[in-house]
Amino acid sequence: MTDGVYLGFGLGLRAQHYSAILENWPKVDWFEAMTEDYLVAGGRSLHYLRRIRERYPIVLHGVSLSVGSSDPINFDYLKKVKELATSIQPTWISDHLCWTGVHGLNVHDLLPLPYTEESMKHIVNRVQQIQDFLGRRILLENVSSYIEYRSSVMKEWEFLAAIAKQADCLILLDINNIYVNSINHQFNPLDYLDAMPVNRVQQFHLAGHADCEHYIIDTHDAPVVDSVWSLYDAAVRRFSKVSTMIERDDNIPELAELVEELQRAKQIAETIWGKENVCVA
């Protein structure tokens, strides 16, 4: 059911690392590029993306699809994404199961959805239109959240799994976000993993967060914590070979430090899958 592509262990592509990547060609299997950073006519960022693409597989990860918004689908945005995809040939394109604004506005945050039949039907229809337009299946990522709607009639994991099935899309499972939500909304994160259809999970995200006593904020500004590594271990056991990457959006360290952190993911996978089945460059 997945596209059957296993890329190994990757990192988020950040402008701070362009030079280090081109100078050292680090042992990273692939990079995930933020779609919106490259929706420009030309210049430096596109230049580096193209150079890096010559040596590494790239996937595109967006934040403005707003698949759950009540606004009409933004086909101007999608057209630009499609043009970029034609040029870069990403292995896949992903975005988030969320909404980012209504009435033509964009709050530039990944806002949670009510888990209702209405939302589900709305999103399934939109994902189908988006996939038709792009000519490929997309990956939807679970987001961190801090609130829950009274109108929700199902669990987050039921909502995600049902949408993926009905829209025939794939899943980008953010292990950190599952952990964050399990603390914020008090559920067992293993229940979440168990509910995910194995054949639709194409990618894992790992990231750091900030513990604020009564809740956790998904900050992406720190190393992955042990409890998330444990959950990743469980995920690898359940889903087997899924392309994995570490996201860092703030307090971005030297590339070498992230490459080192990525080794931990590789070690976990090696322990479970056996050394010969894991690749890092």
């Binding site: 919106e36 009540s70 209504v102 964009n106 709050v107 209405e118 009274r150 909304h185 009564h214």
Partner: protein, 260 residues
């Protein structure tokens, strides 16, 4: 109205005005730990902070000039007046120069400074078109020259200031003492060569020529303009314009040349 749209309108309204519109609170579960207000505040703060961060990244020189507190106050006012309608957060910052015209009406140079900074960003991200080269021009017969229309590269922006904005910008970039702010008409050009964006002052006649080319005027029109405005003879004007064409070619200002 659908339940989904209703919830989205309420949450979005709360993000914009905080506690002044807390209808959304009634639609949310009380969290197992802590207060709902704290959970909602995470979204309200994230909304403001991400947009302020985008403005700081783009206009870091203005932030340095005004100070952090004043810049946040300015950013808050901009966010309230110009909520983002863009899929790219970088584009949210593009109306900032116009906003400053009224917000800081007494400091007219601030808007011009923001215009210069924004033009540098646009130039950096402009299309990767190969510039016109010397060889292409050398192949054009001399008798066609009066009709030549030089098209500027998409990365070229010509700006006019009413203040000594370029000098202020330069001092901010170099971290040197700011010159006294004074009213004086000046011009500059912004362009990209390879991956680097540049800016430099333009003499009035240079500005006149570049703007004329941007408007699609031909070589002989530009010579006439120079003749009129530069008080040069026709022969001297042609030589003057040809000399400037050579410099523009070297700087990679031109995309192509059209012969109608």
């Amino acid at each position: 109205m659908s339940v989904l749209l209703n919830l989205q309108e309420m949450l979005q309204a709360h993000l914009f005005v905080g506690d002044d519109d807390d209808r959304i609170a009634d639609q949310l579960m009380q969290p197992a730990k802590g207060a709902l207000a704290d959970r909602l505040a995470i979204y309200v703060d994230a909304y403001r902070l991400s947009l302020i961060d985008a403005l700081e990244k783009e206009y870091v020189l203005i932030q340095a000039h005004l100070g952090e507190e004043a810049f946040i106050e300015l950013s808050d006012a901009y966010i309230d007046e110009h909520p983002s309608r863009f899929f790219s957060i970088g584009d949210f910052t593009k109306e900032f120069p116009d906003f400053l015209v009224n917000y800081h009406a007494k400091k007219g140079y601030l808007s011009e400074l923001a215009t210069l900074i924004r033009a540098l960003s646009l130039s950096r991200d402009a299309a990767d078109e190969p510039p016109l080269n010397q060889t292409e021009l050398a192949d054009i017969p001399l008798h066609d020259w009066p009709l030549l229309c030089f098209r500027t590269h998409p990365s070229v922006y010509c700006l006019t200031f009413q203040w000594n904005t370029f000098e202020i910008w330069k001092a901010l970039v170099e971290g040197t003492a700011l010159p006294s702010v004074c009213k004086e008409v000046s011009h500059c050009v912004i362009w990209r060569k390879e991956l680097q964006a540049y800016v430099k002052n333009l003499a009035p006649l240079e500005y006149l020529m570049l703007r004329a080319w941007q408007e699609g005027r031909c070589f002989s029109d530009v010579c006439e303009l120079v003749c009129t405005n530069g008080m040069l003879s026709e022969t001297d004007a042609a030589g003057f314009v040809a000399g400037y064409v050579a410099r523009c070619l070297n700087d990679q200002f031109f995309l192509r040349v059209d012969i109608p």
